[in-house]
């Protein structure tokens, strides 16, 4: 196993940067994400206007993979519609399940592609996917509260 596939620069920077680790002033939805296998516990906050994600953040504790994953995800979906965010989440989850993605699909995931290496480590896959499952839940909640 080459650790660079797991803890590459992008992953390490996001895991340590903490620029998305904060509370929003007026979140529209706050959705918990839990990964008992690792003890990752995050709360995802989104502020949604109409069908667009204006801002997002998270709080909580987790391993480097989960922190990087949620941070990369927030940078990716900020400013997108709920539908676009949900589509990106589905793409990401497909990537982690080692489903073949086209170059265009991989491009759409931008920095999140840095987490592709986690799919080779069954023990850590949930760390990477948990934030995106949480995002799908948050999208559902946001749609419901319209």
């Amino acid at each position: 196993m080459d650790l660079h596939d797991l803890y590459g620069d992008i992953v390490r920077e996001h895991s340590m940067s903490g620029h998305n680790l904060r509370h929003l002033e007026h979140p529209s939805v706050v959705v918990p994400g839990r990964n008992p296998s690792c003890g990752d516990e995050i709360d995802l906050e989104l502020s949604v206007e109409g069908d667009r994600i204006k801002d997002g953040s998270f709080t909580g504790v987790g391993c480097a993979i989960s922190r990087a994953s949620v941070s990369i995800m927030l940078d990716l979906v900020r400013g997108r519609t709920l539908d676009e965010a949900a589509e990106l989440a589905r793409l990401f989850l497909a990537m982690e399940q080692r489903e073949p993605l086209t170059d265009r699909q991989l491009d759409a995931l931008e920095e999140a592609v840095a987490l592709k290496g986690v799919s080779n480590m069954p023990a850590r896959v949930k760390c990477a996917t948990m934030p995106w499952h949480t995002l799908l839940n948050a999208v559902e909640v946001a749609r419901g509260t319209d």
Partner: protein
Amino acid sequence: MIQGSKADFPFFAEHLQEGRPVVYLDNAATTQKPYPVIDAVRRYLTESVANPHRGAYQLSGEATSRYEAARSRVAAFLNATSSDTVVFTKNATDSLNLVAESYGRRHVGEGDEIIISIAEHHSNLLPWQRLAQENGALLKYVYLDETGMFDMEQFRQALTDRTKIVAVTQVSNVTGIEFPVAEIVRASHDAGAVVVVDAAQSAPHIPIDVQALGADFLAFSGHKLYGPDGAGVLYGATCLLQDMPPISVGGGIVEEVTERTVRYMDPPLRFEAGTPNVEAAVGLHAALDYVDAVGFSRIRRQEQELTGYLVRTLQAIPGVSLYGGTEGVARHGVVSFNVGSVHPHDVATILDSQGVAIRAGHHCAQPLLNFLGIRFCCRASLSFMNTKEDIDALSDAIISVGRWFDGSA
């Protein structure tokens, strides 16, 4: 010939990770299996499989006698007076649940008390938590003193004439510290309480004498003691087992069944409904023979030396914090730690990439970790067959963690 070293364990030759044997430091979770255990299971599976206690033919008699021989071997291992005190279960968890569900449900009522320590594994906590909740009893905890030791003073104060059960671990699976079980038993018996000992982490490291301990019940898992999965043990004093109803009912445990009634067999068969796991019992038998052949005095000497070396090695690494015991407190092969603020799962992954296997997480002891003021930690746990080189490899791997999470890799 038994060597009392890794040479006895085919795993180290057979399982190579990137060309090298694994540095296996997760013995508290489960142990690798020495060849006498593997051979015994293979021999049973090739030569004498039959359903014990059932068939009238010779082969069934042979399976029965192997199974019962394993039971006698366990009784001897525990210095129990009779093999009737030994119930085979799936694992320690199953054993502890059996005591709580059978003995506990009958003897713990509204307003009664159960005392456990804060250091219990969830398997010796949840059965009592549930029992207390469902029967309206009070679950009391005994905490640890500043050295990480079971606080005997606090315990004496917690004991009352309403205390029906005291359930404690003999060795903590997080700190490796041994609790004064014999003393706990004496105090409990003076108060009229029955004592359940969780020996899952002690049985691999120290000889257990249920008579000297005075334990009423004692549980352990064969798989942590070089045996196969699927053989757990519940020791129970005969007078207590006699009065206990089975939890799982069905074939193999009855004297007589009518349309409306049943008369159960005597213990221990009463608690072993269904076809038993003979191969696991046979493997456990071989494991106990193996442990005795190596000898507890040698096991103890090697493990104490290795544990001391492990503690000193970890203490010497900058940024590493150790939990759960102060200097000079004896530990049995188990040491928990964190590496700076790096999440234990990342530490474990980085170590794994260098062929070092440790455990990371809450170790099924969340209340204890909470008491220690942490949420998760890493745990290295030793067996006598580990070496100082294993600990050096652990140390090198831990030092490398800083290269990944200081930004300098």
